[in-house]
């Protein structure tokens, strides 16, 4: 073993628990879009109002989940120097969107768990990532995060941590980032709702438009969005993670190197398909595919999915794929079948 590998293993040993950990430390996942219309002018379009209502339902789910922390990954907060974590305990500002400034200003004051952010940085570094906190008055929190926290956590009932999306990061780095955050959650014994701020298809209508005329930019975008939503309803988060590159090619304007949120989300929630998904809303917002979706850990796999129909956190040995009586839906076979 070379020194670098030895160092990495020693470092990871401090960061990752030796024993299998509770699979449900992240008890809820929420996907929300980051455009400001559901916050600032839902009344101008019935679909924007339905997205706003979806936020309200997701907020109720968060309250019922027992979460004591919101971890927000925003695709609208780009970083270059590794991964940045917001650590100003009470960021306060009046935000205006670069494109949709005419919709109005958004005053905000959030409650940030700075200690968790510090721990997340430690865990990220232990996994080889470059990471740091940012805690500066006036730091520009992105539109997506502002919208998400204003609608999901309007009274700051829960503290939040916000993590950036590195523009150069690809799959491995983003997956490791999700795992690092999970390390931090488990060390603090937190119960967390993971909030991903991202549209599905991201192609905006690039011309002035009456709100009533809003539509998904293309049929192709719409079909890919619906395929993703079908998977989300089945709870197949890890499968969607695996499809991210395809989705990036098919339904995303390539502003960055890759479509990263599902990599992060899957890694943070446990790299499994063991979820129960609910699509609360799917509507166009200025051409984009904007959905509010929740994922909750499912008690039992349906057994017909991919490699991870078993527990992905603790290996229980080889699975005899021909022993159909092991499949949940088959029940047990009568005895005396030794022959």
């Amino acid at each position: 073993m070379n020194a670098a590998v030895a160092g990495k293993e020693a470092s990871l040993g401090e960061a990752v628990a030796d024993e299998p950990t509770a699979a449900n430390s992240v008890t809820l996942g929420i996907l929300v879009p980051g455009l400001p219309h559901p916050l600032l002018c839902p009344e101008k379009n019935e679909g924007w109002q339905r997205v706003r209502d979806g936020f309200a339902t997701a907020r109720e789910q968060i309250a019922a989940s027992g979460a004591d922390l919101l971890v927000v990954y925003s695709t609208m907060w780009p970083s270059i120097l590794g991964h940045q974590f917001q650590a100003n305990p009470t960021p306060e500002w009046t935000h205006v969107d670069d494109d949709f400034h005419y919709l109005g200003s958004i005053p905000y004051k959030f409650r940030i768990d700075a200690k968790f952010a510090e721990l997340a940085v430690t865990k990220a570094k232990a996994r080889g990532l470059h990471a740091r906190t940012v805690a500066y008055h006036g730091f520009p929190i992105d539109t997506g995060t502002v919208v998400a926290l204003k609608l999901l956590n309007p009274d700051n009932e829960l503290p939040a941590t916000i993590v950036s999306s590195n523009i150069y990061a690809n799959r491995t780095e983003t997956t490791v980032l999700g795992k690092a955050l999970r390390d931090a959650v488990e060390e603090q014994g937190r119960t967390v709702a993971a909030v991903v701020v991202s549209t599905l298809s991201n192609r905006l209508v690039t011309e002035p438009m009456e709100p009533a005329d809003d539509h998904i930019h293309s049929l192709k975008d719409d079909e890919w969005n619906r395929k993703f939503l079908e998977y989300l309803e089945k709870g197949r988060l890890e499968d969607l993670s695996q499809l991210s590159r395809q989705f990036h090619d098919e339904a995303r304007v390539p502003k960055v190197v890759a479509f990263k949120p599902f990599w992060w989300w899957a890694a943070f929630m446990g790299q499994a398909n063991l979820y129960s998904g609910t699509v609360h809303a799917y509507e166009p917002i200025w051409g984009t595919g904007s959905a509010v979706v929740s994922l909750e850990p499912a008690g039992e796999s349906t057994g017909d999915l991919e490699y991870d129909e078993d527990d992905p956190e603790f290996y229980s040995g080889d699975r005899e794929v021909l022993d159909l009586h092991d499949a949940p839906s088959m029940g047990s076979l009568p005895g005396g079948n030794e022959d």
Binding site: D98, E207, P208
Partner: protein
């Protein structure tokens, strides 16, 4: 009324590191210096402007990114704190600036006539992007002139560099026509780097110049090619190879600023005067001035 004119156009990149290194009173972080080559280049650019009289600075900025058309500042006065989202440890700048709303609207109107989608930004709470502040500070640290600030429409992301350039050529022409109609004398700034692949880690001391160099040789060669064309008056050829340059070096020319500037100057065949080339966290930056009086 006399016909307005462009007194100079300049490529004026906006790494916030340069403001940080200057330690102006408006910026909160304090440095030990750094990036002198580029800062001395800005000093030479300022000297070249010393005997020029102008009324307004017009800047096209990559860090006000808009997707629904091109936007223009439409509020006469802005005063606030700008914090760089990427380098907040280096740039937290208290700005106080005025806008020539009349000229801004005139460029907007001329651009609209060419078929471009345009919009005035009239929200007084809007925060000015750090690119605009950095370039303007380094060119005119006294902030004694109004500015016109033009957003970067990201048509490159949606279509291609070619489509972006076609739009920016129109915008540059509209800018020149509006200036001429205004009777004003204007300095134009293209606020962008050339090659734009960053390092993803920062030295413990950000201004540690022993750590500063171009990200890779390939970027350096491309930057030199572009500079050679700009400084030999071959700006149309430079625009022609812009799509390849932009793709190959992740160049910040994707914002359209440089194409807009070349069009506004009507693709100068006279030499651009290079004041400096240097790198900032791995990106390539050139400071170049085009003086129409030298044509």
């Amino acid at each position: 009324m006399a016909k307005g004119e462009i007194v100079m156009g300049a490529l004026a990149p906006h790494p916030p590191h340069l403001v940080y290194a200057e330690n102006p009173s408006q910026n909160e972080p304090v440095s030990e210096g750094g990036w002198e080559e580029l800062r001395w280049g800005y000093e030479r650019l300022r000297k070249s402007l010393a005997d020029k009289e102008f009324d307004v600075i017009i800047i096209h900025t990559p860090h006000w990114q808009t997707y629904v058309g091109t936007h223009f500042l439409g509020v006469p006065h802005f005063k606030n704190l700008s914090v760089d989202p990427i380098f907040p440890n280096l740039f937290r700048y208290n700005y106080d600036l005025t806008v020539d709303v009349e000229l801004s609207r005139s460029i907007h109107d001329h651009a609209a006539k060419t078929g471009l989608h345009v919009q005035m930004m009239e929200n007084p709470d809007f925060r000015i992007d750090y690119g605009t502040i950095t370039s303007c500070h380094l060119v005119r640290p006294d902030w004694d002139l109004p500015i016109v600030c033009i957003s970067s429409n990201r048509s490159r992301n949606y279509f291609s560099v070619e489509v972006m350039q076609a739009n920016m050529v129109k915008l540059g022409q509209a800018t020149r026509e509006a200036i001429e109609a205004s009777g004003k004398r204007a300095l134009l700034l293209s606020s962008n780097s050339l090659s734009h692949r960053h390092f993803t880690e920062e030295p413990e001391v950000p201004e540690d110049m022993s750590q500063e160099h171009i990200t890779n040789h390939h970027q350096y060669l491309w930057d030199m090619k572009m500079i050679e064309l700009m400084c030999s008056g071959k700006t149309r050829e430079m625009i022609d190879i812009m799509p390849d340059f932009t793709e190959q070096t992740v160049a910040e020319t994707d914002a359209g600023s440089l194409t807009w500037l070349m069009s506004a100057l009507d693709f100068p065949e006279y030499q651009g005067e290079i004041h400096a080339y240097g790198t900032v966290i791995g990106t390539g930056n050139a400071i170049i001035g085009w003086d129409p009086a030298s044509a």
